[in-house]
Structures are given as C-alpha cells and as structure tokens.
Amino acid sequence: MGHEEKENWSHAEKYVMVIDIDKCTGCGACVVACSQENNIPVRTDETDKYMSLNWLVIYRVTNAQPFPKTKVVYVPRPCMHCDDPICVHVCPASATDKDAKGIVSQIYPRCFGCRYCMAACPYHARVFNWYDPVYPKGTERGFNPDVSTRMRGVVEKCSFCNHRYQHARDKAIAEGRVCLEDGEYIPACAEACPTKAIYFGNIKDPNSQVSRILREERPHVFRLLEKYGSEPSVYYISRQDWVRPRLDWVLEEEHKKYKNSMK
C-alpha cells in the first residue's frame, strides 16, 4: 500500500466508544474480559484499590439520596483516549502518543515511570506497575500473545485493544479492502458485554453504529469532565438527569445548568 493510501485511511478513521449507562448492569464481565485479553496481573491481595491495577474500572455511583430514594448506576471507565490528551502533553519521554485513528498509545519500554501522566489524567485511567507482575501459577499458559506483559516501574493503560485493530486491518489488507467494516474491530470489553451496553466503532463513518446511536440519543449523550477540554473519545448515555452532575462532581448551584447533553 502506498503512502497516500495510508493517509486516506487514517483520515477516514476515528474510533470512539459509547457506553449506555442505563443498560449497564455492573456485572463486571467487561473487566474480566479486558484482564484476560490484556494479560493483566493479579496479586493475592487486591483490596487496596489505589494499588490495584486495572485498565477498565466500573464505578458504582449513587444519587446521594437517603433510603429508600437511593438510586444507583454503574459506570465503566476505560481510558478516554482524549483528542487533546493531557497525559501526552506532560510525558517527558514521549512514551505516550495520540495516533491517527484516535488511540492514545503507551510504549512500555520507553516509559521510565515518572508518573506525570497519572497525575495529569483527570480520569485516573492510568495505572502504575508498583510490583513485578504476578500471575496465578499456571495461568501464563492463557497469555494472549498479541499483548506484551509489562514490567515493574512503567505506567500502563487501556489501549482500546489496539492489537485487535491491527488484526482487523491485516485481514482487510489481505482481502484488498481499504476500510474496515463496522464491527470488524471492537475491543474485548465491548465484545464481552452481555447486555451490549458498550458500542464501539468509527465515528467518521456516518453509517456506523456509534454514529447512529450518537445521533439518535443526542439529548442524552455526554462525556466525563468535558470542562477540562480534553475532548474524550468515550461517550456516555444516560436518560436520568441526576447521573451526569454526580459523575462530574459539580457543585449544588451548578446543577441547573448541567443537563445530560453535550454542549
């Protein structure tokens, strides 16, 4: 494939994730599938959640009302793959970058563990390998060869299962196609989700599922902490008005301005 064609390809692609909070049941299948896909280590005691290493976390968010008016939603939080990623700006080692298709990468051997990116990320999407990775004995046999395991002292995060993109693209090239079809590349979490609350696809393709959903659900779509201007690529949908202000931790008097829709 020529240089020009490659360019065209990247102009036609930007991958985004849409998570329908009202459909998420908080079951945790996405987290386990992600862990299995990306060879994530498990220590024997992971109850200190500040030290626990996950690429995808499900937050349980309540409306802070007393019993029995309490309501709960579950909010899966992968890396937001921001269009203006703060983590990339602060990295002194160029270990993380935004690529043409919208994915914020992380190059482990280049990272020297300063953790500026972790401090900068407003979503806490980045995690640090405080220890040598450990796996339950024998489960190394279940390693996914497409994803390298990470050493102690580096930062890691969700890659939108970039290796799955590479597989899909290789297949497309072998078949002589220029574009990927909708649904040909989706990350492990979206694949596993038993209620299909996670949509994934190319937002530059107006006919893709994500484009359609974002159009249809426009009044209920928002992104986390939009006020920081990092332009996340992960969109959330909730038709309940209390959800977005709770997720963004807005002040009481700001509530009125804050509705469940993007500016």
Binding site: T25, V42, D45, C193
Partner: protein, 724 residues
C-alpha cells in the same frame, strides 16, 4: 616457588585469557537480562476458534473459544447461541479456572494423614478405581446399599441423570442435588401435581414481579437474563416490561429494576398474599384456575388474614403500594411472579413459593406466553423412572447423618461442595461417614476433607451435554466438545461411573463411556423428530441423520419451543402446605429479639460464585466494601451503624444465635435500616491463595427453617452488631 615475574605472567595471562574467553560477554548478557526484569510473554502460534458451552453455572451460555496453538487464551459469546449475547464475568474468567495450577488436581489423591490435614498420596487411576469399586462392592455385598449417599452438583442434567440412574441401580434412594430448590418443588407438586422443569417465559412477559430473585446477578440463566435486559430496555424510555423488585436491600437487580420495593426480610410470602388480597377483593382474577372448592378456601383465608392494612407493619411496605402493584399486575397483558431468592441456589420456602405462584394462577398465566412454564426436560423424557422422584433436602439429611439417625457408609460427592454450603452439619456428618470420595476439578473445601479425590476435567476438556438452562421456558439440548487436551491426569466422572457400574454388574447402564451415552441421547431426540435447531434467532429443521445432528449440536442447540403449550392437569390453590403455612409464622426463629435486634440477610454477587470458588480475576474485582484485606464487610444502613456505635470501615463483632464473626462495617443507604447484609461466597478453605482464608463463610452463621415444611433455607437470621 612464586616469583614476581611468574606472578605478573599469571595475572596478565589470566586477564588476557578472560578477555578473549566468552565469560565477560556472558556476564554482561546476564546482567542485561537481570536488570531488564523481563516478564513472561505469551508464546506466538496459529490462531483457531472452537465452540463450547459454559458449565460454570446452570446457565448454559454458548461460547466461542480462542486458541493460540494448543493454548486457550480467550472466550467470547457464540453468535449462534439463542441463550446469550455476551459472556458473564464467570464465563470470562474461564481461562483462569482452566489453567489455575494451584486449584486443579493433577492426579487421584488418597488421604494419608488425618481427615482435613492435607496430607495426600498421589495414586494412579487404576488404583483409585480399584479402591472405589471395592468399597462400593463391599457395601453392596453387605446388603446395606442405602448406605451410599450421593451428593451431586453437576451442571449437566445428563450427568445428574446418570448419577441418579447409578443410585437407582445400586439400590440407594439417597441421591441429592445441592442446587435443588426443595421448597419450590414441594409447592409445585402440591399445587399442580407436577415434577419436572419449571421455567419463566420472561422474554414475553410485560410485568415481572420478582420476590427477591436477583435476576441480573446469577438467578436462572445469567447470560440469558443479561441478554433479556438488553431486549427489555432496548429503549429505556419505552421499556417492554416493568420489573418490580421486592427485596430488603438494593442489589444490582433492584438498582436496575423499574421499581424497588424494600420489604422486611422473610416477608415475601406475606407480600404476595397481600397482593392476592387486593386482586381477590377487587375481583380482578382470571377465571382460568378459579372457581373450585380449593379456590374458595384460598379466597376466604386470604381475605380474612392478609388485609394490606394489617401487613404494613409486618412487611414494611405501605398499603398504597400493595394496591397499586396488584392493580398493575392484573391489568398487565403477560404478568409473571418470580420466585427463588438471590441466585435461587438456596431453597425458597414451600409456603413462600405457593403464595407467589398463586399470583400467577390468579392472573391465569401458567403455560402461556409470558407466564410460568412447566415441562419435561429431555433427560426426564428419556429416563422417566428417575424424574418421578421428588428432590429431597440435603441439609436435613446430613443433619440426621450427623445425629446418627441415618446410616451412611460411603459419600460420593460429584462436582459439589457441601462442606462449604453446610459447614457445620457436613462436618458433623463426616464423623459418621467412613469413606468420602469427591469428583472435582478443583481442590475445594469438600475435597480437603475427603478420603479419595478424583480429578475431573474442566468443561473445556470434556464432552458434555447441556440441557435446558435454569429457568428457561422450553427444553433445550446442546453439546459441548473438548476444546483442548487436559494437562492434568483427569477422567470424566461419567466414564468413571459407567466403568464402576460395569464392574459392579449394575443393570440399566449399558454404555461403554459417557460419549456413547450422549450419542444415545442425540439419537433419541432425533428419532422423536420434535423441535428444531436454534441458530441465533433462526429456527432450522432437524437434520437428516443423527450423525449430522451430532455435529450440528456442537455449534448450535436443539430446542422445542412448542413443548409447553396447553393446559395443566390440575391446580390447587390451597393444598396442605398452605393450610399449615397460614397458621404459623413463616420462619422458625431462634434467639431472643432483645439479644439480636437486627436481621441478617445474605447478599449475593454475580462475581462471587458459591460452590465454585471465585477465580483470581473475580476476587480482584470485588469492591473494598465487600472484602478489605482478609476482612469481610457487612452492609448496614448508617442509622443501624450509629445505633451500634460503629463507624463506616470499623471492625465489629457480628453475633447470631449460630455463632459470631469479626467483620468490617460498610455503611450504605441502599439497605433498609435494621438489616445487616452479609456477602455469600467467601470464607473458603480450599482453592488457592487468591481465595482461601479470605472473609468468612456466611453459611456458618446464616440459617433458618421454614415452619410449615421444615425445609432448611439460608435466607436470614437474627443478629447483633457489637463494637470491638
């Protein structure tokens, strides 16, 4: 003699020699490797995909397994499966279960030390089979065949059926399935004179009244319920169904339901009868099952004793809710009332099921679209002699073994973990059982106290047939083929049972191995010619030969959606259990209210399987409000905590009439004041360092009996929380 010249020659020569030898390079190389802290990486290989059916619970999710060379690396949903659209966290953790070296048993183990001491001798399969066969033969020779106790936990009804047949042929009636809902089967037997599969057609229902069934957290077929949730709430602003969750604590299901009605624990039967009162009072019942003498008896009793006015205080729900929900229920097109508390693995009381099911009868929604479905499973039809037997209460039985009221010589435990579920009574019973043999892939709590442990294959390593997933509304049959070769010395429990019965000369088990039995079943289904193959949503006619059917069934499933049309033989609103039940309190209560002012209820989580221990990834996902370090956290309302003088995150002593435990307190607005929620599924002794010794086993302090039937049920207990 060393001279100066000689010394210099030696040093310089040695240095030169070392430089030109590979040694410095080798050392430098080693240093690089050492300082780089290389981590293990997955070996590359050719990718392939196989189909399988998950057997970690009775949900029967179809899976597509990704393999690299011979290694299994990931599981995804089988797009042809009509059951699931994705996977649940348990299914997603399959690879960790498969390769968990510390949990898996590598060879047959014979106990050498004292029971439970953990001293084992690895033996060959031939020796293990000899030992088992001779024990069974001796018992058979002595004539006391009832001394064989079989505790089954198999997910496959075919395997369970084989064990039942084995017990039948051997001459013992002491067969138990750990997950049998004894209370429900008593109620259904009494009401409908029916013994078989009970299903709920939730797909077509438009009003679901759930009495504490955690529909999204492991009740029924979890993968199917999650897919249904997507179907129901495809457009959350215009849902296809209204789900009303009646439960004291806001579980994930209650959080996602259309409405949550927090009742007081153990009052589900009263709530159901209160709703029935409104329906009867307003005369809105369907005439389909009403009009008989038993209905009149039921009507009189309910109108007399279950006026919602009087139930307000008892159930904690207000009268308006009773009236509104009852009206919505009988005005809906396809209303359904669902029983089975939590995941439904613990027996619901017979009286409670009776009260709930009478709501279904009042709206006439039995064996109809969107209602409860009663039918015979494939195995029941092929082996009618075993399906007529009513399931019995294992808890009560092992209590009587412990009290030496019943004699048991050999306990055969197949892929079950009674030592976890009945921690006290099973321990007592073991003292009176001389020989315990356990078939299990994992070193679980029961294997630890057994005399002979026989390793069985994990579901990805064996042939198995999966019939009707739990709670499914029509019969289903699918085959799961081995995805990979086992790296452990395992044998299929079905093969073992067939081999043993051949040696013992038992009749009625003519198959050479388990695969032959499955072939026999496939031929039976094919020759009956009923039903169709389900490929996703598409119905396909049966193939032209049983052979072809066999190969088709490894990727999709056979189903007979028409099996459940038509009426039922009889319906009795007020059988003896009802008459007994309304006279007494629902649950028998121990301990004084002054000593134990609170009520303890179990909290079940999808990521915390009970008999099967949670995989490391699942333990990792547990919030720190369930497990902190090795401390179990109990859920209480902040008001309750301040009443006890404990703060969020503090340690406290949880006391019940059955015992006490040290726990951490987690304050939460999502639970009724006065209630303590204890997570179930932790506190294992077996498995590996990721699970063993974490938290406490809730079954040690939970436990209640139903008054009317005496069925053991782990629904609640009285409790107190004391500051340490």
């Amino acid at each position: 003699m060393l001279t100066r010249r000689g010394f210099l020659q030696f040093v310089v020569g040695g240095a030169l020699g070392a430089v030109f030898s590979p040694l410095p390079w080798r050392i430098a190389d080693e240093l690089v490797l050492f300082s780089q802290r290389w981590t293990p990486q997955g070996a590359p290989g050719d990718e392939s995909w196989c189909y399988s059916i998950c057997q970690l619970c009775p949900g029967g999710c179809g899976l597509k397994v990704r393999k690299i060379s011979e290694r299994v690396v990931q599981v995804e949903a089988n797009p042809l499966s009509p059951i699931n659209r994705g996977v649940c966290p348990l299914g997603a953790a399959s690879v960790q279960y498969l390769y968990g070296d510390k949990r898996r048993i590598k060879k047959p183990l014979k106990r050498t030390g004292k029971r439970g001491e953990g001293k084992w001798q690895e033996i060959e399969w031939a020796e293990a089979l000899n030992l088992l066969t001779s024990k069974l033969n001796d018992l058979k020779g002595s004539g006391a065949t009832e001394g064989l106790l079989c505790i089954d936990g198999s997910v496959s009804k075919v395997m369970s059926g084989l064990l039942k047949k084995f017990c039948y042929a051997y001459g013992t009636s002491n067969y138990f399935h750990v997950n049998a809902d004894v209370g429900a089967s008593i109620a259904i037997k009494e009401m409908q004179d029916f013994n078989g599969c009970v299903g709920f057609d939730l797909e077509n229902a438009d009003y679901v009244l759930s009495f504490g069934s955690q529909l999204l957290e492991g009740w029924g077929a979890p993968g199917n319920l999650q897919a249904l949730y997507n179907y129901w709430f495809e457009n959350p602003l215009k849902p296809k169904v209204k789900v009303v969750q009646i439960e004291p604590r806001m579980s994930d299901t209650a959080a996602k339901a259309s409405e949550w009605l927090p009742n007081l624990p153990g009052t589900e039967a009263l709530v159901a009868l209160g709703l029935a009162w409104v329906i009867l009072k307003e005369g809105k019942y369907n005439p389909r099952f009403t009009g008989d003498a038993d209905f009149e008896r039921f009507k009189r009793a309910v109108l007399e004793g279950f006026n919602p006015d009087k139930l307000e205080e008892k159930t904690g729900l207000c009268k308006d809710d009773f009236i509104r929900v009852a009206r919505e229920f009988c005005n809906a097109k396809h209303p359904i009332a669902v029983w089975g508390r939590g995941k439904g693995f613990n027996s619901t009381g017979a009286f409670e099921v009776l009260a709930i099911h009478s709501l279904n009868a009042l709206v006439g929604n039995i064996n109809r679209k969107g209602g409860t479905a009663f039918f015979k499973d494939v195995v029941d039809e092929v082996w009618p002699e075993i399906s007529t037997r009513q399931p019995r209460d294992l808890g009560k039985f092992i209590e009587s073994v412990g009290a030496k009221k019943v004699y048991a010589e050999i306990a055969l435990v197949c892929e079950a973990n009674p030592a976890y579920k009945y921690p006290v009574s099973f321990g007592n019973a073991l003292q009176n059982v001389p020989f315990v043999v356990t078939f299990t892939p994992f070193m679980n709590d029961t294997a630890l106290v057994s005399d002979l442990v026989l390793p069985t294959p994990f579901y990805m390593e064996k042939w198995e047939a999966i019939t009707t997933p739990r709670g499914f509304s029509y019969p289903v049959f699918g085959l799961s083929c081995p995805v990979c070769k086992s790296s452990y010395g395992v044998k299929h429990p079905g093969d073992v049972v067939l081999a043993v019965s051949k040696t013992l000369g038992l009749k009625g088990l003519p198959w050479d191995n388990y695969r032959n039995l499955l072939q026999y079943l496939v031929e039976k289904i094919w020759s009956k010619g009923k039903g169709c193959l389900l490929k996703g949503n598409k119905k396909v006619a049966l193939p032209s030969s049983p052979r072809q059917m066999w190969s088709e069934l490894t990727t999709c499933v056979w189903a007979n959606p028409e099996a459940v049309s038509g009426g039922i033989k009889k319906f009795d609103f007020a059988p003896s259990v009802f008459a007994e039940g309304i006279k007494r309190p629902v649950w028998s209560v121990e301990g004084k209210s002054e000593d134990y002012p609170f009520t303890l209820i179990p909290c079940e989580y999808l990521i915390l399987p009970q008999d099967l221990g949670a995989a490391p990834f699942l333990v990792k996902q547990l919030p720190d409000t369930v497990l902190k370090g090795s401390d179990l956290c109990v859920e209480v309302h902040p008001e309750t905590a301040s009443q006890c003088g404990v703060k969020n995150g503090e340690l406290a002593l949880l006391q019940t009439p059955l015992g006490q435990a040290r726990v951490r307190v987690f304050c939460n607005e999502c639970i009724r004041p006065g209630i303590i929620g204890i997570p179930v599924g932790l506190g294992h002794k077996g498995y590996d360092e990721y699970l063993a010794g974490k938290g406490i086993n809730a079954y040690t302090i939970l436990g209640y009996n139903e008054e009317a039937t005496g069925v053991a049920s782990y629904v609640m207990n009285k409790a107190n929380l004391v500051k340490i």
